[in-house]
Each structure stands twice: as C-alpha cells, then as structure tokens.
C-alpha cells in the first residue's frame, strides 16, 4: 500500500471510527454509572437518525403542515441537530424510566436489567419496522458537499465535520466528568452505589443526566451518519450498536478515554483490513483480532480490573 492510499484510508478510518466512538461513549457512560450494558443504545442511534429525518424534512417544508418561511439548508442542519438531540434524549430518559428504573427499585439482579435492555432494543427496532414499514428512506441533502484534495488524498467536508464532532464531544464529556459537580457524582456512583444516596446526592437525577448525555451523543452520531450515508432503515442501529459495544469494551468499559480510543481502534482495524484483504473478510478478521485482544487483556486498553473481595 503506497503512502497516498495509506493516508486516504487513514482519513476514512478516522471518520468511521468517529461514529463508533460517539456511540461507544454512550455505552461507557451508562456502564460506568449503572454497571449496565445498555443494549438498546444502538437502537437509540437508529431512533435518533429517524427523528433527524423527520425533523429535517419537516423544516424543509416537505409536509402539508410546514413553517411559513424557507430556511437555508445549513440552518436546517443546525436546527435538526439540536432538536434531534433533545428529542432523542427524551427517548432515552423514557426508556430509563419505563424499563430500567422499576427493576432498579426492586433491586433486581444485573442480568435481568441487561435482558430488559436487549428486549427494549428489539422493541425499538421492530416497532419502527411495524410502524413505518420496511422501505428505506433517503435523508435530504443538507450540507453542501465540498471535496478537498490535499496531496492526492480526497476528503469531503462531511468527513471533517464528523471527526471534529467526535473530538469535540470527547473534550466536552471529559470536562463534564472531571470538572463539574454532576460529573463528580457520576464518578462517585461508579465507585460505590450504596454510599452515594446516603451522602445526599440524588441518584435518580444523576442517572437521568447520564442517559441524557449518552442518548444525545447517539443522536448526534445518527444525524451525522445519515448525512454521510443517506440511507435509513430500521435495522441500521443493530449491527453498529453491537460493534460500538465491542469497541467500548476493547477500550475499557467504564472509561471515557477507553470508549473514544476503542471506537477509533475498531474503525482503523475495519478500514485497513478491508483495504488489504478482500472485503468479505473484513468482519471475520476484525472480530478475530478483537477476540485475540480480549483474550490477552480482558479489561481492555484503559480498563481497570475490578478487584473481587472474597
């Protein structure tokens, strides 16, 4: 592989890895606070994409009921991002309220909550399929595609936006978790769940805040994903969700840096394997490498093994 195609693949891998990183951040936040693998997170990504689709088409005036003015496309894009993140955060909070909180109150074992998460994801997928039908939808073109070529490497402005968004989200989340009080509360809950409410910290509020953060990041990933690859279908979240989960674990689940790095690692592995080997081998080799890595270092790159008290 010559140096030019190496850099081309590098840019592609950074973009692809950014999507995984954004979704993996949601998995990691919820795991760090609740010790729960939120298997429905990939489907929240899908819900975010669909909400973005409907908001964008509404703002563009495609329906009978529309706004009295005509908005320029980049304003529509900004508004879509904002509204989608808020609405998807609402979906995430509803999911937590309806599905996870009653089980937490009862003190149900972790396994039962994980199964509930799995089932909630299935309901979201198949509910979407049942309500909206199986036909794929095309996301409207909101960002004017500008193609830049630097030294033989071509990339679009969408790719740059995605990579910058992922970096920005990472910095934002690191700031929130390390510098704010509610971030301190989130870290405290991951250390000792029982002592935190005894200290007067409203545990429910912190958990709701965690879900809001995670779901809005997934919504951001969703809208960016359909801006880059403008096809929506009900099962788009399933595979990406599972892969982002594996990325989060490879990075070390419970650590924000881990999710970020793990997402990019998975993105690099997939793109470079597809570049070197025939593309049908991509998933096989990528998962094989991950399996090997997890067998050697089970806690992931940044993960800290939880000591077990006998």
């Amino acid at each position: 592989m010559d140096i030019q195609s190496f850099f081309q693949n590098l840019i592609n891998a950074m973009q692809w890895g950014s999507f995984y990183a954004l979704i993996a951040l949601g998995y990691t936040l919820v795991y760090g606070v609740l010790l729960l693998i939120n298997f429905a997170h990939g489907d929240i990504f899908m819900v975010g994409a669909y909400i973005g689709f409907f908001v964008a088409t509404f703002l563009l005036g495609s329906y009978a009921f529309h706004l009295p003015m005509v908005l320029p496309p980049h304003v529509v894009f900004m508004l879509t991002l904002l509204i989608t993140m808020i609405l998807t955060a609402g979906v995430g909070v509803t999911l937590e309220r309806v599905a996870y909180r009653p089980l937490r109150r009862k003190g149900a074992g972790r396994l039962y909550i994980v199964i509930t998460a799995l089932m909630a994801g299935l309901i979201l997928e198949n509910g979407n399929l049942a309500l909206l039908g199986a036909s794929r939808r095309a996301f409207p073109d909101l960002i004017e595609k500008a193609v830049y070529t630097v030294g033989g490497v071509t990339f679009t402005n969408v790719k740059i936006i995605v990579i910058l968004a992922a970096l920005g989200v990472f910095l934002l989340l690191e700031t929130i978790v390390r510098k704010t009080k509610i971030g301190m509360a989130m870290r405290a809950i991951s250390y000792d769940r029982v002592a935190v409410p005894l200290m007067g910290i409203p545990i429910d509020t912190v958990i709701v805040f965690t879900f809001i953060l995670g779901s809005s990041m997934a919504a951001l990933a969703g809208v960016l994903f359909v801006s880059a690859y403008p096809v929506l279908e009900p099962y788009m979240g399933a595979m990406i969700g599972w892969k982002a989960f594996i990325a989060a674990v490879v990075g070390g689940i419970g650590e924000i840096r881990g999710a970020f790095v793990g997402g990019f690692v998975l993105g690099f592995i997939e793109i470079f394997v597809a570049a070197v080997f025939p593309s049908t081998f991509r998933d096989l080799i990528a998962f094989g490498i991950l399996l090997l890595f997890l067998s050697l270092k089970p806690t992931g790159i940044f993960g800290v093994a939880r000591a077990q008290k006998i």
Binding site: L103, Y112, T116, N126, V249, F281, L284, P298
Partner: protein
C-alpha cells in the same frame, strides 16, 4: 418396570405422533411445528446449561448451531446424494437411514470443538467480557461460513431434501420426525443426568462462587470446558436437524437474532430449570405460530412480554425449580435411583 415409567411414557407419546403422521391425520404444517418444538427444546436446554446452571451470559449459541448444521449437511450431501457439488454419492443412499444419526453426531462433535473457542477465553474472563467474546465468536463463525465459497457462502447450501427422501424411500416411515423425537429425548436425558451428577454440582458451584469452588477442589477449568462443549455439541445436533427440516441453510439464519430468540426461551422458562426450558420452548414455539397473523407486531409483542416478565417474575416461569418440585406427585414417574 417402575424405574422406566417416564421413559415409556415418552416413547408412547412419540409412537403416537409417528402413527398420526404415518396415517396422515395431522397435516404437514403441524408436523413442522412439532419438529420445530423438538429443535427448540434441544436448543433451549443446551443453552440453559451454560446460561442457567453455570451463570454465564452466552449470546452466541446460534454460531454452534450453524457449525453443526453445515457439518451435518455437507457430510450427508457428500455421502448420500448425487449432486454437482461433490459428484456421485460415496455410499448407497439407502444407508442414510442407519448413518443419519452418525452424521448428526459428527456435526455435534464439530460444534463441540467450536465451543472450545468460547470455553478457553472463559477461563480468564467472566460476565460482561465473556458476553462479548461469545458475540464475537457467533459473528466470526457466520463470517467464516460466508467466505467459504465452495459450500455456497452467503448464497446458502441446499440439497438436504434428497437425503430425507432417500431415507423415506428405503423404509416408508417419517424418519425426520423420528430422529427429532429421539434426539430431543436423548438431549433432555443427557442434560438431566449431567446436572444431577457431580459434574452438575460442580457447574452450579462455579455459578454460585467461583473462587470458593476453586478452593474447595472443584476444577473450575474442567467444569467450564465440559459445560461449554456439551452445550455447543447439543446445539450442533439441533442445527443439523434444523438444516434437514428446512432443506436449505444460509449463514444469515444464524445471527445474533437467532441467539436472542434462544435466550428469550431460556429466560422465559427459568434459568437452571430443565423442566422450565422444555415448557418454555413448547410455549414459545406455539405462541409464535399463534401470533403469526400479526406478522411484524409479533416481534414487538414478544420482547414486550419478556420485559413484563422481567418486571413481575424475573426468575421465569419455573424459576430455579424443576417440575417435580411444583407437582410432587410426579415423583412417581421418576423414582429415585439406588445410591
């Protein structure tokens, strides 16, 4: 005579089913439903060994099913049919009646070897990390099959119909139904003997407290190895039978969705309860058929049912108990063995 009452009851029920099929009093649809019930019972009980009795979270069971399905089908097509893939049949098609269980067992063996892929990482990891490893193994097996173009890859593999027909031509009985009933019974018997033996006690000890079990001289590595291999071997046999019921298999039917289906049945029935697994497999298959007119809403209703179950009765229908704990009178059917 008293000792084998349950076995004779089961043989009587199987004989009745086979008679009804031969006399053509039940139509092909109900036959297929009964066959799927048998296959689901095998899958659910084998997964219950790992998820219920051993307490792991294995979400990759469909991968082992795929290995068994492909291994059995390839062997059968190679030995017993004339096709353009492998050429002429190596053995006479009439031998397929006797050798079908042999190929099934070889398929199960291949699946048990695939179970090593999950068993060996499980020595060092537990819980969430093992869940990912099982997921990855499921996906790796599916991807690997998709890349082997000789057996069709993603296009699928067919031709099992000829094997089933060859069996019926040799001796006019509904052989597939017979083999499914036989292997379902064998699976339940094998697993029941497994969990009531010291191996079973060791497996439950690993679930309850692995470190304490290790201290108490339970060889946890050996327990995990045996449990994973038995579980995936039985899933492989179920996969082989599944392939012959459908007559066509492709890697797309052995994805995480299939694994999730099997997990739903296990958690519905109750972890650590063989009777519960059997009951929930029967219930779930029949429920799926009843809900078929709803089409896609079926797949919204079933997860909803499980969520409601998790909220109000998380241990499943039977919890950790067996059928004889709920209906003590049934103990007459399973008298105690001598020490």
């Amino acid at each position: 005579m008293q000792r084998h009452l349950a076995l004779m009851l089961y043989i009587a029920i199987c004989g009745l089913i086979v008679f009804l099929v031969k006399a053509e009093w039940i139509n092909a649809y109900i036959q297929i439903v009964i066959m799927f019930i048998g296959i689901n019972i095998m899958l659910t009980t084998s997964l219950n060994l790992v998820n219920g009795y051993m307490g792991e979270f294995s979400c990759g069971h469909a991968g082992f099913m795929a290995v068994g399905a492909y291994a059995t089908s390839i062997l059968n097509i190679w030995f017993f049919t004339n096709g353009n893939l492998f050429g002429d049949a190596l053995l006479s098609p009439s031998l397929s009646v006797i050798l079908f269980p042999a190929t099934l067992l070889i398929g199960g063996l291949c699946a048990a070897l695939a179970g090593l892929l999950v068993a060996i990482p499980s020595f060092k990891t537990r819980g969430d990390y093992l869940a990912i490893i099982t997921l990855a193994v499921n996906y790796i097996i599916k991807s690997a099959i998709e890349n082997i173009q000789v057996i069709g890859g993603a296009r699928g593999f067919m031709g099992m119909r000829k094997v089933v027909n060859a069996m019926s031509e040799t001796f006019p009985l509904p052989w597939l139904m017979i083999w499914i009933l036989v292997f379902t019974g064998l699976t339940v018997v094998v697993l029941h003997r497994f969990v009531s033996s010291t191996l079973g006690k060791g497996v439950v000890a690993v679930r309850d407290d692995e470190i304490a079990a290790e201290i108490m001289s339970v060889n946890t590595q050996r327990m995990k190895l045996i449990a994973f291999m038995v579980s995936s071997g039985l899933a492989g046999i179920a996969g082989g039978l599944f392939a012959h019921v459908l007559g066509y298999i492709n890697p797309g039917s052995f994805t995480i969705m299939k694994s999730t289906e099997i997990m739903v049945m296990v958690y519905l029935g109750g972890m650590g309860s063989l009777g519960g697994s059997v009951m929930s497999a029967i219930l779930f298959t029949v429920l799926m058929e009843f809900l078929r007119p709803l089409q896609v809403f079926k797949w919204v209703l079933i997860p909803l049912l499980l969520i409601v179950l998790m909220m109000f009765r998380p241990e499943g229908i039977m919890g950790h108990r067996e059928l004889t704990d709920v209906f003590p009178k049934l103990r007459r059917l399973f008298p105690a063995r001598e020490a």
